[in-house]
Symmetry: C2
Subunit: 249 residues, 2 copies
């Protein structure tokens, strides 16, 4: 089974200004690996219509699926929905079932800004969301989700079962505290050559003031990942360092 | 004074796999706002040469400056430096002063993988880094930094004083717990129309199980931001809700 491809578009002045730490990418990336979808690209773009429209059209043509987060609320800076309509070249119009849900929920308090939330690109299907009335939707291969992490997560999990999927992408790792990357580079490259179906990475990190290196193997064949990590473990031992399986404490 | 523009390229399989939570964007974004540089785009791309080369060339033409993070160590998956050379169409060659520093530091232990770290695109200038021997560098308007946050931060701070800069981009905010975005959307849009030099955003959040909304004004004229937030404060009070200045506890 091959792995479908995906991209994420974060529509977010608040990320570009540094005000907000994005946490949506890691959630989506982790879940996509779980269902065997390969995340190939992430873009963060500002709340500017032509930037959103251009990015959506570029990425929906390049990847099997696109996830957007942010910009679907009722305020003036929430412009994602009409930009998606423009990207697909379809009218942006009242979605009657969503309008009814909003009307039932808000009653006579419903105003024009709230009605705007039930305005969707023609042909869009709402995404179920048990957390709020934020109007996520799917159109073509583009899934439009909220920016608030808790709402985004509910939307993603509602979508997940119906996504095209592939063989789950697994990871295995081994850690060596005090390993110098330069001393294992040749050995690691040799392992990578023997395990071309495993994607090997080397990542330095600091823990309790000491430097360590994580060797990570990623791929769809767990037995091969385990074998590659077993070789990396021997390589770390050959440095006179005790390897640690799993997260070092 | 106008604001120069910038983009960030995160070169990182480990971000796309969900293994690592990026924290570099928020650090760089916050510092850039401080020196008046407008961050316009972020891309996360995998460790694939043509993806790195294409992205670097697209973004260095589009923005005043580009910052990359990741992929500058000595292992086989560290391919940023040669990709930057390819993007600029210059040779990738031994950088003698860096080679000397490495030789002095590593002595007879220095191997080919480590020497690779002192191999830079012709015309590159090393970035000072007091934390490690990771070889960051600047070429043209592209600043190539480490992916490990502590090292990246040291490199960015070493660069910061010499970056083209503009009027600092400031933020002011007011919060309303229990505010429904739909109820303030029209009022907020009217404020935005009166304050076109302030970029107003509305961001729902959850704190201690309750929903609130943050109204954020961003721009270079602090007096105008304060005036816009003062109007937003009155708008929240008109909802019968006590506004909170600064971060809600």
């Amino acid at each position: 089974m091959s792995n479908p491809s995906a991209a994420i578009i974060i529509i977010g002045n608040e990320i570009l200004s540094g005000r907000t730490q994005d946490v949506n990418v890691q959630f989506i990336a982790t879940r996509l690996a779980f269902v065997g979808v390969k995340l190939q690209e992430v873009r963060v773009v500002p709340d500017i219509p032509q930037r959103i429209i251009g990015t959506v059209n570029e990425l929906r043509a390049a990847y099997d699926m696109v996830f957007t987060t942010g910009g679907i609320g009722p305020t003036h800076d929430d412009i994602t929905s009409e930009c998606i309509a423009a990207a697909f070249g379809v009218p942006w119009e009242a979605h009657e079932p969503s309008m009814k849900v909003l009307r039932d929920y808000l009653g006579p308090r419903m105003n024009a800004a709230q009605a705007r939330m039930a305005t969707l690109p023609r042909g869009a299907t709402p995404i179920r969301n048990d957390v709020s009335i934020a109007p996520g939707f799917t159109i073509g291969n583009v899934h439009v989700m909220a920016g608030v992490p808790r709402i985004m997560q509910a939307m993603f999990l509602a979508l997940e079962a119906d996504l095209p999927r592939g063989t789950p992408i697994e990871m295995r790792a081994v850690y060596g505290m005090g390993v110098m990357e330069g001393n294992i580079a040749a050995g690691l490259e040799a392992i990578q050559e023997r395990f071309q179906d495993a994607d090997l990475g080397s990542y330095p990190f600091q823990r309790d003031g000491r430097w360590g290196v994580a060797i990570v193997a990623k791929g769809t064949d767990l037995a091969r990942l385990d074998a590659a990590i077993a070789e990396a473990t021997v390589m770390i031992e050959a440095q006179g360092i005790a390897p640690i399986q799993g997260e070092p404490s």
